[in-house]
């Protein structure tokens, strides 16, 4: 099945030499977009991170690595440096929360995607639509709705009090738990959709074959379903991890702004702290973290494919 199509496609291309000459140019819009809107701003941020912060915001010459030094050391009055773990703690906490978000999203997303992939095509279409519906409303509005639901006087506590389960409101908001909840809620669809895309293509005769060979349910899941879903899980993990690690809506609104996350730290540097170069350096270091995870994930999936 997979062999038949490329041939016909190739034949069509060969039939029109003119069209073939145009093919290299078809990539131009994509390249232009990437250069203008991704590489350009990144280079600006990179250069800002090596410049001196302006007194009232902005950056000035000369070039310096002060911003990166500030990440690990605080400068004392006598200009000596002492180790300061504040930013490492903030990065560690954020990465841990983003990692947990990925794990929870897999645990919820995998069965959901499996359920979706095993429905009839018509039902499937509707389910995909349902998963994407949250994107129709701004994330800010949806996050704020959770504040209204989870707060002491909110819907959840009101309901629990109404049916007599509690007398005092449960502290559902303003904790790491509520941040994690907010992150999973925000980015779960990014996990479900790629896994669904992977499972949708699965040839279910493979599972029948496994049954025929007396594989247990657990063995089928681990040896057949999971490997087939793996590309989706890896893509989903990347899509969930990257926005989670940079998010500042959930930490500020649902977490009550009690602890800094990378996202709010960077935002603070560009506003009240008026330290653009340190903000840019934080963003660069965040990008380094995300890139490392990405490279690791891609290698992992390649290894899998070759095995």
């Amino acid at each position: 099945m997979a062999l038949a199509e490329p041939f016909t496609a190739k034949d069509k291309v060969a039939a029109s030499a003119k069209r073939r000459n145009l093919i290299p140019f078809l990539g131009l819009p994509a390249v232009a977009v990437i250069v203008c809107f991704m590489v350009g701003p990144m280079l600006i941020a990179l250069s800002f991170s090596f410049l001196t912060a302006g007194v009232y915001g902005g950056v000035d010459l000369p070039f310096t690595i002060e911003a990166y030094r500030q990440f690990l050391f605080e400068r004392n009055l006598d200009d000596s440096l002492s180790f300061d773990n504040s930013y490492l703690v903030i990065y560690g906490r954020t990465i841990l929360l983003a990692g947990l978000t990925v794990v929870i999203s897999i645990v919820i997303g995998l069965p959901t995607a499996w359920y979706m992939a095993t429905r009839t095509p018509k039902v499937r279409e509707r389910l995909v639509l349902l998963v994407t519906i949250p994107f129709w409303t701004s994330l800010l509005v949806r996050t704020y709705c959770w504040v209204l639901i989870l707060r002491d006087q909110g819907l959840a506590n009101g309901l629990l009090r109404e049916i007599g389960l509690i007398t005092e409101p449960l502290p559902l908001l303003y904790s790491y738990g509520s941040i994690l909840f907010g992150l999973v809620y925000s980015f779960l669809p990014f996990m479900i959709l790629p896994i669904y895309a992977a499972l949708e293509k699965v040839d279910f005769r493979l599972i029948e074959a496994a049954y025929d060979l007396y594989a247990s349910r657990a063995a089928i899941f681990l040896k057949v379903v999971l490997p087939l879903a793996k590309p989706g899980v890896i893509a989903g993990s990347m899509l969930v991890f990257a926005p989670s690690v940079g998010s500042f809506l959930a930490p500020d609104l649902l977490g009550g702004g009690k602890k800094l996350m990378i996202g709010s730290l960077i935002q603070m540097q560009f506003t009240t702290s008026r330290n653009w170069s340190f903000g840019a350096a934080c963003a660069m270091l965040l990008m380094a973290v995300v890139l490392t995870v990405l490279v690791f994930a891609v290698r992992q999936s390649k290894k899998e494919r070759h095995a």
């Binding site: 912060a53 007194v55 009232y56 915001g57 902005g58 605080e74 004392n76 009055l77 773990n85 504040s86 930013y87 703690v89 903030i90 707060r151 002491d152 006087q153 908001l173 303003y174 500020d252 609104l253 009550g256 702004g257 009690k258 602890k259 800094l260 730290l265 603070m268 540097q269 506003t271 009240t272 702290s273 008026r274 330290n275």
Partner: protein
């Protein structure tokens, strides 16, 4: 969109109406210029007004620094007046010689940030302290101790503004320190105050203060006086504190950028806003106090009688200042350590 258009429009009107007395370009905070006032001004003077808006002090600074803005009036917060004057971004207007100057309250003449009102005239002003729900805690609230070292009833129910500079300045008043400390040991004391307070804080958020106090989500909250007044409107148990240690004040001011193309019209507008009935329209729109005592009779009753807008005699109002680089780095460091 407005921002993109204003430049070309300003340039165009310059060429076509260079000698007509017609134009005035105002740059003000969002929702801070009453439309009915502008209509009245246009009708009475024949000057054609265009308004552009911004949402942060840094925006104004950046725009004025970039030069060709075409604005004739900017509204700037008091900590930025001397910064902009020093940077040569606003021009001398010698306000004390303008008609209407005598209408200003004596205490707002020649303020610390602008001696002799050489560059600016007060527009609206406010106070930052805290509010308490007296249903939850009915003890004395005339000290910042209630906010920073809360009594049992308020523990875990405190809200703070999520701004390092605002939280730090209030803590500095609590400790009896000057703003913009560059003394590391003093800033460590500030850090200790904020760290000791942290376990009792439920939420750090500058938005939604009114709503949190009205719904009993928080029982005490650091707040601006305009918001305190509006929270009381929704929940009459909400009371604002005028702490004996002092209170943070801020003033927004009218000033004229150096590159203004219609400075005479700008001065006309400034004089116009020193007239009681006109500046009262601004207060009625923005819900903050002004600096013209004669304006009281034109205020909405709700504003005129609001205890939040009138600091009692003897309350020490400490006005915000823009801190230099060193002091600002220390504020950032304290905030990072409190929230790490």
């Amino acid at each position: 969109m407005k921002n993109l258009l204003i430049g070309p429009i300003a340039a165009l009107s310059l060429t076509t109406a260079a000698y007509a007395e017609g134009d005035l370009f105002i740059f003000n905070w969002t929702d801070y210029t009453p439309p009915d006032l502008i209509e009245k001004f246009e009708k009475e003077t024949g000057i054609n007004v265009t308004i552009d808006t911004y949402d942060s002090n840094e925006t104004v600074l950046a725009k004025l620094k970039s030069g060709s803005t075409g604005y004739d009036i900017v509204v700037i917060a008091n900590p930025w007046v001397n910064v902009m004057a020093e940077e040569g971004l606003i021009r001398k207007i010698n306000a004390s010689e303008l008609p209407g100057y005598d209408n200003l309250d004596d205490r707002w003449k020649s303020p610390t940030w602008d001696p002799d009102n050489a560059y600016s005239v007060p527009y609206q002003w406010g106070l930052t302290s805290f509010v308490v729900n007296t249903d939850v805690y009915d003890g004395d609230i005339d000290t910042l101790d209630v906010l920073f070292n809360p009594p049992e009833e308020l523990q875990g129910k405190i809200g703070m503004l999520n701004s390092p500079s605002e939280a730090v300045t209030l803590a500095q008043i609590y400790l009896g320190m000057d703003f913009c400390q560059t003394d590391v040991e003093n800033m460590q004391k500030v850090e200790t105050v904020l760290l000791d307070q942290a376990p009792h804080v439920k939420v750090y958020n500058s938005a939604g203060v009114i709503e949190r106090m009205a719904s009993n989500e928080t029982a005490g909250h650091m707040a601006w006086n305009g918001n305190a007044m509006r929270a009381r409107g929704l929940n009459d148990k909400v009371k604002m504190s005028f702490p004996k240690e002092g209170i943070v004040g801020w003033m927004d001011n009218l000033a004229v950028p150096t590159g203004a193309r219609h400075p005479e019209n700008a001065e006309k507008f400034i004089s116009y806003l020193m007239q009681p009935e006109n500046i009262a329209m601004v207060s009625n729109h923005a819900r903050f106090a002004n600096a013209v005592p004669g304006a009281d009779q034109y205020l909405d009753a709700e504003l005129r009688d609001a205890p939040e807008l009138a600091a009692p005699d003897g309350v020490d109002i400490k006005f915000l200042v823009t801190c230099g680089e060193d002091a600002n780095r220390l504020i950032d460091r304290v905030w990072t350590k409190v929230k790490k």
